[in-house]
């Protein structure tokens, strides 16, 4: 889709708009003209790009953890902590709920739409992954076997497999046709911490297969020396799609936070949005190195990220109530100031 390649080293904040409450999740519309967000005020927001004109509305009985769009360009699906999926006509002047589905028992943490847009997957605290018919909201298949809450899911563009990652770093590949577990990826357990505070902490926060189908990337946290006090570091893991084995551990060294979400960029690099007690960052790695080649300090801790359809912009949402649009292209020169008239 994108004519030009993203240049992560040129990343800069192009737009930022403030809501009345800390934000949780974000998603671009397929036409790229809007970014949608959810907030701690139980509301959803539609932001027009570049004007920042906002429309907001309330729906779920709880927070919305994830937002996705279907390929019709109008239907948006939100995943609530109230067991529900809600389908929206998101482009209406005042967005309206089209359909509500009680989809999981407990929080729905993540959604993923198939490349053909006909199906989507959901992951929840009932330890299940579910595949849905996007046209009518009917359940097609349930994938069961995770022993902990499922934090993330990803539908492969081949339409045959779905991936899921849970709180314990257990990453699985399932066959869509029969719902069977195909394989597990080895080494994800680094994303789980059990320590002397008596808590279980970690999880696969983001999951995506690289466009060249060589790697499955997962992000989360490690080095959690004080989970209850937010002392941990973000990390991305790369798994070889052929061998199931972990081939890269890409830490955000020296940063305190969690890798909340990831996206493969069209230049072949991986972008991760991190946030935590060390502030917010966009971190960029290439598959051939454990060390990131660029990091960009964000004005505040990030909580979610989405890649624009043009492949050249990232949206992030933040605790400081802002949604920010970052361009991965050179910053245009500042307009010259007019000389003052004497």
């Amino acid at each position: 889709m994108a004519a030009t390649k993203a240049d992560p080293k040129k990343v800069h904040v192009a737009h930022q708009w403030k809501h009345g409450s800390p934000l949780i999740a974000c998603c671009f519309s397929p036409d790229g003209k809007y970014v949608f967000t959810s907030g701690q005020d139980y509301a959803l927001q539609r932001w027009e790009i570049p004007s920042g004109k906002k429309v907001e509305w309330k729906a779920h009985d709880s927070w919305v953890r994830d937002i996705v769009f279907l390929h019709d360009g109008r239907t948006m699906i939100t995943a609530g902590c109230d067991d529900k999926l809600i389908f929206w006509d998101a482009m209406a002047e005042k967005p309206k709920a089209i359909r509500t589905v009680v989809a999981h028992k407990g929080w729905i943490r993540n959604l993923s739409v198939a490349a053909d847009g006909k199906t989507f997957a959901s992951a929840g605290n009932d330890r299940l992954v579910k595949l849905w018919d996007a046209t009518n909201g009917k359940l097609i298949r349930t994938f069961s076997g995770h022993k902990l809450d499922v934090y993330s899911t990803f539908l492969h563009p081949n339409g045959k497999t779905v991936y899921s990652g849970d709180q314990g770093g257990d990453i699985r590949e399932w066959t869509i046709a029969d719902g069977k577990l195909q394989r597990k990826f080895q080494g994800g357990e680094v994303l789980l911490t059990n320590n002397t505070q008596g808590v279980r902490y970690g999880g696969v926060r983001g999951l995506a297969v690289s466009p060249d189908n060589k790697y499955l990337a997962a992000c989360g946290l490690h080095k959690a020396t004080n989970p209850l006090g937010a002392v941990n570091e973000p990390i991305a893991l790369l798994f070889d799609m052929k061998t199931n084995k972990k081939v890269r551990s890409q830490p955000g060294s020296g940063i305190k936070g969690i890798g909340w979400q990831l996206s493969w960029l069209n230049d072949g690099s991986l972008a991760v949005a991190s946030g935590g007690s060390g502030g917010g960052y966009l971190l960029f790695w290439r598959p051939d190195s454990d060390k990131e080649f660029h990091r960009f300090k964000l004005p505040d801790t990030a909580r979610d990220m989405d890649l624009h359809p043009d492949g050249l912009q990232l949206a992030t949402v933040h605790y400081d109530r802002h949604v920010r649009i970052h361009k991965l292209t050179p910053k245009p020169p500042a307009p010259k100031k007019k000389a003052k008239k004497k």
């Binding site: 701690q40 002397t196 505070q197 004080n226």
Partner: protein, 422 residues
């Protein structure tokens, strides 16, 4: 396991010493034998007991007893109705909600404190900590005030870890906490190479020597020493009381296999067999980071064990004689921080009580719409301490007689929450 709080404090570290050694040593020395119990004249014939559950680190009142859904402080969890019309709890307490008619809530607590150590002391000792002043902890006060001399069970048991606490102050080590872990006390079994007959002979000889010594040089210390041996002997005969594995399978199923459920079952077993005060912890609620994920992990685990305990006490007819206390050192901030966490907060929070003489299904105190301040019937830790004592039928204004000197059981400047006491 040593629990380290997010903020670095170690308030709940438990020393590991041998259980039986603690029992035997517990009665020796101190002023325990000098303090006369004021309870005998107050209590009914039914033995009053207490089970105290300490939510270590600071349970969020918003994710438990005082939910504020759909407010700016509410977080993602919903509120659910309970067995008492009009009372709602967090959805994380779905099992407990069914027993609300056996419980009560204090929702107007303002302890003006956000420090783990101070909060721990306030809630368990009922007073401000003063330099050079040592006070007995709630368990020791209850063990002393509710003591039944014919009961061989220790009065003050702490589930988890071992050893003997240094927490009974002027009441004497006899009322200090004893650690139990759901297994028979270590070294409580008669050695295999010692026959029952030889053991009996050995004890008979000890008693004879003690009696002879006492004829000429009897003191309170020698009495205490003798008492400790006799008590240890009685405990050896009842070692199975401490062994939770003796409970039937359906009880293990009811309480759950998780460690907290097993500790609740151990508590019920000990209470049923005569323990006066049993305390257990549930950890760790010091959730400055990811408060919602951690409460999602921990509160349902608490809910399962706690609801089983409440229901089981009721089913066994023990509820009227067993007061239930669920406390923390403080609550957590209504404000949600940038790590989805909640911080320390003592200005508007809640505890749960039940059983004993606590009014069933009562709610005392109220916070405002988003839980940032108390707007009705504000109370603090001294009121709560008085209420715990009143909840087992004690007059909390009665003093202990410590060596002829009256020492108040609770801060005399305060009193119980009367409307909670039946």
């Amino acid at each position: 396991m040593k629990r380290i709080h997010a903020c670095g404090s170690n308030e709940h570290q438990i020393a590991r010493r041998q259980f039986l050694g603690g029992v035997a040593g517990g009665a020796v020395g101190g002023l325990g034998m000098l303090a006369a119990s004021p309870a005998a004249k107050q209590l009914e014939k039914t033995q009053q007991r207490v089970v105290c559950i300490y939510m270590s680190g600071g349970l969020s009142q918003l994710e438990s007893w005082d939910p504020k859904p759909k407010t700016n402080t509410g977080g993602p969890f919903r509120a659910i109705p309970t067995s008492v019309p009009g009372i709602h709890l967090s959805e994380l307490l779905s099992r407990t909600a069914k027993h609300m008619d056996k419980l009560a809530l204090v929702r107007g607590i303002n302890t003006r404190n956000g420090d783990h150590g101070k909060g721990n002391y306030h809630m368990q000792y009922g007073r401000q900590k003063m330099p050079g002043v040592s006070l007995p902890i709630l368990g020791a006060v209850c063990a002393k005030a509710l003591e039944n001399p014919s009961n061989p069970m220790p009065g003050h048991i702490r589930i988890g870890g071992g050893g003997r606490g240094n927490d009974s102050a002027y009441l004497g080590p006899r009322y200090a906490s004893i650690g139990a872990n759901g297994k028979p006390p270590a070294n409580s079994e008669r050695p295999k190479d010692l026959s029952e007959a030889a053991d009996e002979l050995r004890n008979r000889f000890r008693r004879k020597a003690n009696d002879r010594f006492a004829l000429r040089r009897r003191t309170e210390e020698t009495d205490a020493y003798t008492y400790s041996y006799e008590r240890a002997l009685q405990l050896m005969e009842r070692r199975d009381v401490f062994d939770v594995s003796k409970e039937p399978a359906k009880m293990h199923e009811l309480y759950g296999k998780e460690s907290f459920g097993q500790r609740c079952l151990t508590a019920r077993r000990l209470l049923e067999n005569g323990a006066t005060f049993v305390k257990l912890d549930h950890s760790n609620y010091d959730t400055h980071n990811e408060n919602f994920n951690f409460h999602l992990e921990q509160v349902p685990e608490f809910d399962k064990g706690f609801a089983a305990l409440v229901g089981d006490l009721a089913d066994r007819g023990m509820l009227d004689s067993t007061m239930i206390v669920v406390m923390s050192e403080f609550g957590r901030t209504p404000n949600i921080n940038k790590y989805y966490g909640r911080d320390h907060w003592g200005n508007a929070w809640s505890i749960c009580l039940g059983g004993g003489k606590i009014a069933r299904g009562a709610v005392v105190g109220k916070t405002n719409e988003n839980g940032t301040k108390v707007i009705d019937r504000e109370v603090s830790y001294p009121h709560l301490f008085h209420t715990y004592l009143a909840g087992v039928g004690l007059d909390s204004h009665e003093p202990f007689d410590v060596g002829g000197r009256p020492v108040p059981m609770a801060d005399p400047a305060f009193g119980p929450i009367d409307e909670l006491i039946t």
